[in-house]
Assembly symmetry: C2
Homo-oligomer: 235 residues x 2
């Protein structure tokens, strides 16, 4: 937790917050602070700054906060991810939130196991938990949107054309002819398939929308390495 993310209902006065629960526990166990110490804090969706601890015991902590800096720039990236298995999804959501992605579509694909759509990880409060961990990691405050798209075809036909407008639309595809571009200076929409990849029908559908297939070399990476590697290469 490199930043303590604050929400409006943490405020007990204009510049004063009171924390309990998970954040207090983490601050006590990891930061090991005392009254008078300062912590980096940020308001969800808003500015970042410092909090000075004015009261601390085992059940609550109070801080006077001053929030004056803007959060880091978002990445100009829309991520379209074939729904990964729940354990992997949790870690990827944390990682891509930390990297600054602000819009994530979780898409069905032929090779996505149907049961993944029933996972409790997809419940809004569990999604939010991972996003908050990612923001706290990266010292950011702006929660990404996560949008569930359990039907490939209507998403590809009805939503994608508008979504990729004014962006560079790329599919990460190990069989592609072109290497993933580096240091792109425009917004990107990046589609990443499931384990085993998108099936040809899905690739064709994306290509007919205007997507370009790109690869990361002859090695096929696991999704947890591929996603940060693609993002780091693009921006």
């Amino acid at each position: 937790m490199n930043l303590i993310l604050l929400f409006n209902d943490d405020f007990i006065d204009e510049n004063k917050v009171r924390l309990e629960g998970r954040r207090l526990k983490h601050i006590l166990e990891v930061h090991r602070v005392a009254t008078g110490d300062e912590l980096r804090v940020g308001l969800a969706g808003g500015p970042i700054g410092k909090g000075c601890i004015t009261f601390l015991n085992n059940t609550s902590l109070e801080m006077d906060v001053s929030l004056i800096h803007p959060p880091p720039f978002p990445l100009p990236l829309t991520l379209i991810l074939a729904l990964p298995r729940p354990k992997v999804l949790r870690r990827i959501l944390l990682s891509v939130t930390a990297m600054g992605v602000k819009r994530i579509f979780l898409l069905n694909s032929y090779r996505v196991e149907k049961s993944f759509w029933q996972s409790p990880v997809l419940q809004p409060e569990n999604l939010q938990k991972q996003l908050v961990l990612g923001l706290e990691q990266a010292r950011d405050t702006v929660l990404p949107e996560v949008l569930l798209k359990p039907f490939f075809k209507p998403f590809a036909e009805d939503e994608l054309p508008a979504l990729i407008k004014d962006t560079l639309p790329l599919i990460a595809h190990p069989a592609a002819q072109k290497h993933c571009p580096r240091d792109v200076l425009q917004p990107v929409t990046l589609a990443i398939g499931p384990e085993g990849g998108f099936i040809p029908y899905e690739v064709d559908k994306l290509m007919s929308c205007g997507f370009h297939a790109v690869h990361l070399g002859e090695r096929i990476l696991n999704i947890e390495a591929a996603v940060p590697a693609l993002i780091a290469r693009l921006f």
Copy 2:
């Protein structure tokens, strides 16, 4: 498993292998093959090619193999990683092996919990398991070396100077002034600290060896995102 990794003791004849256990189970459950089907195979430390299934039942599989292509190029990267927590280590070993790293030092650092060094993940057979998974993922055959360095100071003083010779030695350090370089055309030695980072004494020690501190932007990434992101940016 995008490649079935073969070892010398799988061979029952010059070009014939017999598989049982984990690989057979995976082939039966995921590849769903029949006699006559071909699978991508590779010999540990050697060439890759195809295996044609000549016999298959629930307890064993035989293939005629032809191994003719070289494995993918290794990355010219030596990774020095402050020992992460065991669960994370397992995943990182898989990811960096898939990315083509061939030499990995696991180093102690002030902020590495002592108990991590007692983890069963560090036993040679468990390390090898993760490396094999990484090779199978990336269609590679050359196992990385993993070297355990439980003492920071003697490693930094006695081993590092020779190790970084003729390489670009970099520390990933969020407080660095310089951005991590892109598309480097020389061998790199990359040191990555633990959660919370190397302490100043350790950074100074590495800098006095000749390391340069570089960052990935103002966001502090979790180690599982930072490692693939750094590698993808460098090469």
